[in-house]
Symmetry: D2
Subunit: 346 residues, 4 copies
């Protein structure tokens, strides 16, 4: 095996990324080394690329970026019992401590010592990545790369959609980026009665319709409140799945939420904002759920079930393919709003 590899690196505290030749990582006794077969770009990666305040406040360059990754196990530490060398795995991006009270009570997804690959430690836009063995989720050998690589991100959609009870319910998905789109597919698979969706990209509004949204509207140009009220006999929706982080979309979503409704929130807002607490939560007796990451590892089992039964087909979500060294073009595509998921291969 070579001693160095190609990697996409946030080299210093500035916008942009660069391809570097770096040492192949060495593993600890509870880790595995994964030869990367594919990676995909997440919204978080855009923040890192642009070096916004969130990225600047959290990251300590140099760091290899990328946290949506699949590949083959090529080496494993002395304590690793599973998976096996040669296994084709997808990676859970949150490396957790297994020691804190959260980890010890089945809440590892909110572990207080979480390290996110590609952010807090080296990630997977590279030829190899070292990661804790428990983060490597074995796939069938013949699982298409497009599906394998999306599982981490799909987990966000599954976690959000499974947080509320969607069965026979009217559901609004605010935000049709890739996770929002996958959430629509999940909502359809688990028996939502009607699915309404909003976004501000015509491309994604159209994508939402193709994935099963009964109505997909432009959040600003269309009369969202009136249209969805009409479509629901004036009732509004039972469930809000908030994937946008946009304060105005959040306000629209809660305005449409029925009394006693449920709202699951994955979207991250740009900062604090003014919110109508009384009418949107208190008087309405709403149940509001913050969603963070994926449940470790319930969500992975659930995602596997949806994929294997054929209830959700992730393949159409990957709309663009690039080589890793073409990362600039890949990020540009992702930023345009005219894409689903963008996949990178070494």
């Amino acid at each position: 095996m070579a001693e160095t590899m190609q990697a996409v690196v946030k080299a210093d505290a500035n916008p942009g990324l660069e391809v570097q030749q770096v040492p192949i990582p060495t593993i600890k006794r509870d880790e595995v080394l994964v030869k990367v077969r594919a990676a995909s770009i997440c919204g978080t990666d855009l923040h890192i690329y642009n070096w916004d305040s969130w990225a600047a406040g959290r990251m300590h360059p140099p760091v290899i970026v990328g946290h949506e990754v699949c590949g083959d196990i090529v080496e494993r530490g002395s304590m690793v019992e599973t998976p096996e060398i040669g296994d084709f795995v997808s990676l859970e991006s949150h490396v957790i401590c297994n020691q804190c009270a959260f980890c010890r009570t089945g809440l590892g997804h909110i572990c207080e010592n979480t390290q996110l690959i590609g952010v807090d430690r080296d990630g997977g836009f590279a030829e190899y990545i070292a990661i804790h063995a428990q983060n490597a989720w074995p796939n069938p050998k013949d699982l298409p790369l497009e599906i394998a690589v999306l599982q981490e991100n799909f987990g966000n959609a599954v976690h959000t959609a499974f947080a509320a009870d969607l069965r026979a319910k009217k559901v609004l998905v605010t935000g049709c980026g890739p996770v929002g789109l996958m959430t629509i597919a999940v909502a359809r698979a688990i028996g939502a009665r009607s699915i309404y969706a909003t976004d501000i990209s015509a491309y994604r509004i159209d994508f939402a319709r193709r994935l099963g949204a009964d109505l997909a509207l432009h959040a600003i140009d269309d009369p969202v409140i009136e249209t969805i009220r009409d479509a629901t006999d004036g009732d509004g929706v039972d469930v809000l799945l908030e994937m946008s982080g946009s304060p105005s979309a959040i306000d629209q979503g809660f305005t449409l939420l029925k009394r006693g409704g449920e709202a699951a929130l994955l979207g991250v807002a740009p900062g604090p904002f003014e919110f109508d607490w009384d009418n949107h939560i208190v008087f309405k007796a709403a149940r509001v759920l913050g969603i963070s990451g994926r449940k470790l590892w319930q969500t992975w089992y659930q995602a596997r079930g949806l994929i294997r039964s054929g209830a959700v087909d992730l393949a159409p979500l990957v709309t663009h393919h690039y080589k890793m060294e073409e990362f600039d073009k890949a990020f540009e595509t992702m930023t345009s709003g005219e894409s689903g998921k963008v996949m990178l291969t070494p």
Copy 2:
């Protein structure tokens, strides 16, 4: 309007039924009079027809039988605000007191003063039936009779399937009578990963396959335990939906249930039986849920959602049609095990 009507009556404490000419019922101020358009036969009706010990212990003839009914509102009492004259309605068969602690806490389905139409008071195998207004559930005018009449019974399937979390789970349905068959359709609609089913009628095993069961087995002739263990990589199932009431099917189901699994029980056993308490519930940390009737009226809303979204199509469930006066042939068909639901029209 005429003063008498044709009705199928349990005339005295003996097996069989007869058609009689009886007075059209008069309504109380909180009741409606429904002109029956269709009715269907339930397993309970077979017990009544055969006058088994359950029927003999509970009924006080003469009683007009039949509790799965749809029709049109033709008259309403002075206090009734909804539904309207002319509305096409399906009937909830449990007339509840609205006064007991169960009714006052959202648990009307276990009201301690419940009266079941066709059992404790006159039912709907007749030209007309009087019933409390809240038991009349309005349908779209153009809902097919086959679907309208099945909603009550479909509610049992929905109540059972919604009691557990089936999303991305492996599910076993023991018993493929009409309610079991509808349960399979619901499980499929709300995202079950795999559905296994058992029965002892070849006709119904085949029906189960057509409704979406991944595997449908003969409970006695097939090696059920081994086959389902194999199909689940040795794990067994996450959820048992018990629709048979057969002690041996119950034992099979719990044997296949995984640790931490859920079992929802609608099937009624012929009497007390020997059960492996420790291995089937305690050590397994199983969650076992008795299911009674339908939730009033959550289940009706859920059933409506599944029907209107197209997630479940009930029409194929009705396999036979008879005139009410042909009730003997209809009951014979139902008893044969070679039918889905059997519908009667006045």
Copy 3:
């Protein structure tokens, strides 16, 4: 019986109230007439007294005010089966429709046609009140007036405290008005591990300590965040019970809330305000529950259980007694922040 009675009336759209001689109400066939024995003043009544924008936007004077009421049944309509003439009852203040989808699914507390006595229809600061029979909750004959009259308001505390899981948990109660104080008592009764409380009235902070708060702090003058962090080994609290409606208290509460924590919100804010959505809910994976009124009638059963077992003693909560005609003094006492509940008798 006389034909008129004394009542405290919001006579026109201005601040203040007045005592008037008005007709004794007549009852409908599903109502009862209650001879009032005691009433108590709620925060809502202060809004009405002061005729703030909420009151001006909702009420249509003239209206008899008062919604915390107990008394004796002296007459009942023709359809009323329970309670009996002579029963000593406390009143649920929300008159609900029993017809809407919420009422029909056990969610009457968010009925979309609710009428609140003393606000939307005549209330109980009067000698008599007419109300739907189901709103009259029978008490033991010997229940002290102080406890009987507080049950409605106590229901808010029970509803809020029961919404989250407090067992063996660290709990913060923000706002120690009467409902906040009762919430502390409930939290203690159902097994909270530690109870922290904040308010801005020294009187109520002291009251909180006497009712079982482990720490009671001044929300502005004390270093709340540091003190509670220290008291919880840096962890913060598992549960926030928000009873103040103060944006700064809400911010403090959510800052102290642990990841994965639960927040139940009864306090009503003065209007929309800036809120740190990402850090307070999304990243934290918080579960946030709007609380409205009391569950009809689960909360009443729960309140009864706590009272009868002796787990909660409400008597000390009533700190002041006045005759109804002394309502000005009573409202002044309530406004001062130097009181628990203020009781009025005809």
Copy 4:
């Protein structure tokens, strides 16, 4: 340190135990060595002592027995980060694999590869025990030995009592052995309205009363059904906590359970038995929960909360103290039914 130690050993496949001098265990890199300060006897130990069919079917002598243990950490493996040398710890008795699907989804208490100390591997009726570091739960240095040693068993009580909602509810505890007694104390601490208890030992019935049971009855000699029906105004109980494993107590408990009630089952029956499925679960819409061990490690946190807040005082539960070499007398005391917990010290 010496090389051998005293231990109570099941030496061969026969009734009885014996004291032996055995090697002090060596630890693996993820284990700790605990110098035992106290142990206590569990019902399971009686089965082992008597070498009944369960014990004979599961154990492979020679095995050091004992699984309720506390002591000090004297050595730790190279990978252990916590606890520290010198920490005073109580032991969780189930050594789990951390690899199976149950362990990976927060359900370690039903891990399919569980090893129980004192049964499947060497236990703690000895001077030293080696155990996985995560099984050593740190206590405050000054926690009384009686409390420290009981925590494992107390966890069964907490797990059972927390499985249902006891707040303001009427609760029946069938079986007042030590776990049943602790369950009564927990039910009282978390707000049960009334607690009824049954047993067949006068000593334990009396103990139940002292711990807060409102009524404690002899399961055979007292008219249990009638007495508890009377005490509950004919309603029966909301919750059954089944700690006896006695088929007749189970039948009594379910007979008294209200419709819609909850039953948590910890008691292990001697084998399959005849059970009235329809009336006890199906028609009653009961929710029945098998309880296994303790939740790892939620139950430990909950137990800690109840102990530290003073809500439950475990000290009175330990009624007898013996030296380990007096194990014969200790087991005799435990068998008599005239004891609470029996504690052993090296």
